[in-house]
């Protein structure tokens, strides 16, 4: 059980459906399924709107948010933004980890996502996100498929190799937010 903590928003009824895939209290245990706990509020809100509008085509979420009003999406965003993030995995492959750490610095990921990669406003927390999800998402962006999100990530990943994406994902997934 996640610990109770002060200031937490009460759980919106709709969050039960979210937790089925994104994990109890928003920390995902499923492959390719992102953790949403402790993500910035605006980031979650934006993504929920884009998914509702069909701008982000996520097969598992088709129809889930149909006709859900903005106010409920905002409530969900506030709720998950306030939840604590689970401890990251400790199984570091040191070469991958170090390479990923260097790349993330050189690519200036920290300018937007902040130097500790906790994210802010519309930019997601990368620290402690699932490795498989980070890799999946960056591959989509690189392939011009991340429709509906700011195209700046397409530009940021311009010309990067898949090996480098794997290293960055390995590293980011293993740093504590």
């Amino acid at each position: 059980m996640a610990p109770l903590f002060c200031g937490a928003q009460s759980m919106p009824a709709r969050a039960v459906a979210c937790n089925a895939c994104h994990g109890t209290n928003g920390n995902s245990q499923l492959k390719d399924m992102p953790s949403i706990a402790g993500q910035p509020k605006i980031f979650i809100e934006n993504q929920l709107v884009l998914i509702r509008e069909g701008m982000r085509d996520i097969p598992q979420m088709k129809g889930v948010l149909e006709n859900v009003p903005d106010s409920e999406l905002t409530a969900l965003a506030n709720y998950y933004a306030g939840l604590p993030v689970a401890k990251p995995p400790t199984n570091r492959q040191i070469n991958m980890y170090t390479k990923g750490e260097t790349l993330a610095k050189e690519m200036r990921c920290g300018i937007c996502h902040l130097p500790n990669y906790v994210g802010r406003e519309q930019m997601p927390r990368l620290a402690g996100q699932r490795e498989d999800y980070l890799l999946h998402t960056m591959r989509s962006m690189k392939a011009n498929q991340a429709v509906g999100r700011d195209s700046i990530m397409i530009a940021s990943l311009y010309g990067i190799s898949d090996e480098d994406l794997q290293a960055i994902s390995h590293y980011l997934a293993r740093i504590a937010p």
Partner: protein
């Protein structure tokens, strides 16, 4: 073209990794060229935390807009003309009090119907990749990054199925900086800019960083000018009929350089991207010998990183005579600068040949200089039949109407 592009990047990446492995065994090997993502990101900015501003995708009601913060010259008034149109950008006027507005992040095209005192709106089409709008002879033209649609006689037939013109326009594949402002010129042609798909780079092919015009059906494409990094606003001078266009300068070159610019279109002209900015500033990343030789000079510098957007020459009778033929320009506001600039509508007063340009404030109050917070981002302008001016606010997702009375 895509294939060649991908291949050249694969080669580049391969070259980089080969060179890196070579470095590992032989420290004397020449340095590898930087990978594409590294262009225009100098080491001096390693610790910067300047980032694009967060947009708001949920609906805002008129009552929640802090209208009293907006400042205008004496005699001008502002009202919220339409609300709950999240992400609203360019506005095109249709028939019988109908207006069309594209929403870039939400992928929607709104139709707003004005009955004089109130407005209603509906979504004409959604799920498009950054759609924008133009209107001519009863037809609504919708252009997304990868699609062109025409809705014929949409006023009489609101549910008309669109005609897909995509193939005829032969759009290039890259998304970044390829949201478009489009408009029909006095020659009846559709003018379309194609931005550079990067902050700063040698574009992957010749299809980018240019302004073109097409016949309305997509035939007869002509490239009018090149070297234009990202133009997202233009209008035709009321007297000379020349096209004047706004252009965004590159990021990560310091707080005060380069400027965004206002320009006159010279057919066949080159505006400098990627190696020369604002007509006189050599780029430190993409170097060429004498990069600014023969480059067209801007009419006015619009402020570094100010995000110069919608352009409209005022030709109405409602504003006082000194506003006639003045260029209005919405500046969405900076992110790549430690102190904010823009977040306003300014006026550019210049001679018809572009000389003696002066930039003056018109509509301000969307940000606080004291604490560097902002609440609004003026994006596009449209002159109504009665001479009032519509201003879209992409942040609030509302459209203001600016009027004048003595």
């Amino acid at each position: 073209m895509v294939k060649n592009f991908t291949q050249s990047f694969k080669k580049l990446s391969l070259l980089v990794s080969l060179s890196l492995s070579a470095l590992a065994v032989n420290a004397q090997a020449p340095a590898a060229p930087p990978p594409a993502w590294k262009q225009g990101m100098p080491d001096s900015l390693a610790n910067s935390t300047l980032a694009p501003l967060a947009g708001k995708l949920t609906a805002t009601k008129a009552a929640d807009v802090p209208l009293n913060k907006i400042k205008l010259p004496p005699g001008f008034k502002v009202e919220v003309w339409a609300d709950s149109v999240p992400g609203s950008r360019a506005i095109a006027q249709g028939d019988n009090g109908k207006y069309y507005v594209g929403s870039r992040p939400l992928g929607r095209v709104y139709e707003i119907t004005d009955n004089g005192t109130t407005r209603t709106s509906r979504v004409v089409i959604d799920k498009l990749d950054q759609p924008t709008v133009a209107f001519r002879d009863g037809s609504l033209y919708v252009m997304a990054v990868d699609k062109v649609l025409r809705f014929d006689n949409i006023d009489k037939n609101p549910t008309v199925a669109p005609i897909d013109l995509t193939e005829k326009f032969n759009l290039p594949p890259e998304k970044h900086h390829n949201w478009k402002y489009i408009a029909f010129g006095p020659d009846g042609k559709l003018y379309i800019p194609f931005g550079a798909p990067c902050n700063i780079c040698e574009p992957p092919s010749a299809e980018y960083a240019q302004i073109r015009r097409y016949n309305a059906d997509g035939s007869g494409m002509e490239v009018l000018a090149r070297g234009i990094r990202n133009s997202v606003g233009f209008d035709w001078h009321p007297v000379t009929k020349e096209l004047w266009f706004s252009n965004h300068g590159r990021d990560w070159l310091g707080d005060d350089t380069p400027n965004d610019t206002m320009n006159r279109l010279k057919v066949g002209g080159h505006y400098g991207f990627p190696s020369c900015h604002q007509g006189n500033l050599a780029d430190p990343d993409v170097k060429r010998l004498k990069p600014c030789d023969g480059i067209e000079q801007p009419v006015a510098l619009m402020g570094p990183h100010a995000a110069t957007m919608g352009v409209k020459f005022y030709t109405g009778n409602m504003f006082p005579p000194e506003y006639r033929n003045v260029l209005f320009n919405a500046r969405k506001g900076s992110w790549n600068r430690t102190k904010k600039i823009g977040h306003d509508v300014v006026m550019v007063r210049a001679d018809a040949d572009g000389k003696n340009a002066k930039v003056e404030p018109f509509m301000t109050g969307f940000y606080s200089d004291a604490d560097q917070t902002f609440w609004g981002r003026p994006a596009y302008l449209h002159q109504m039949n009665d001479g009032s001016m519509l201003v879209s606010d992409e942040q609030m997702g509302v459209i203001y109407r600016v009027t004048y009375s003595k």
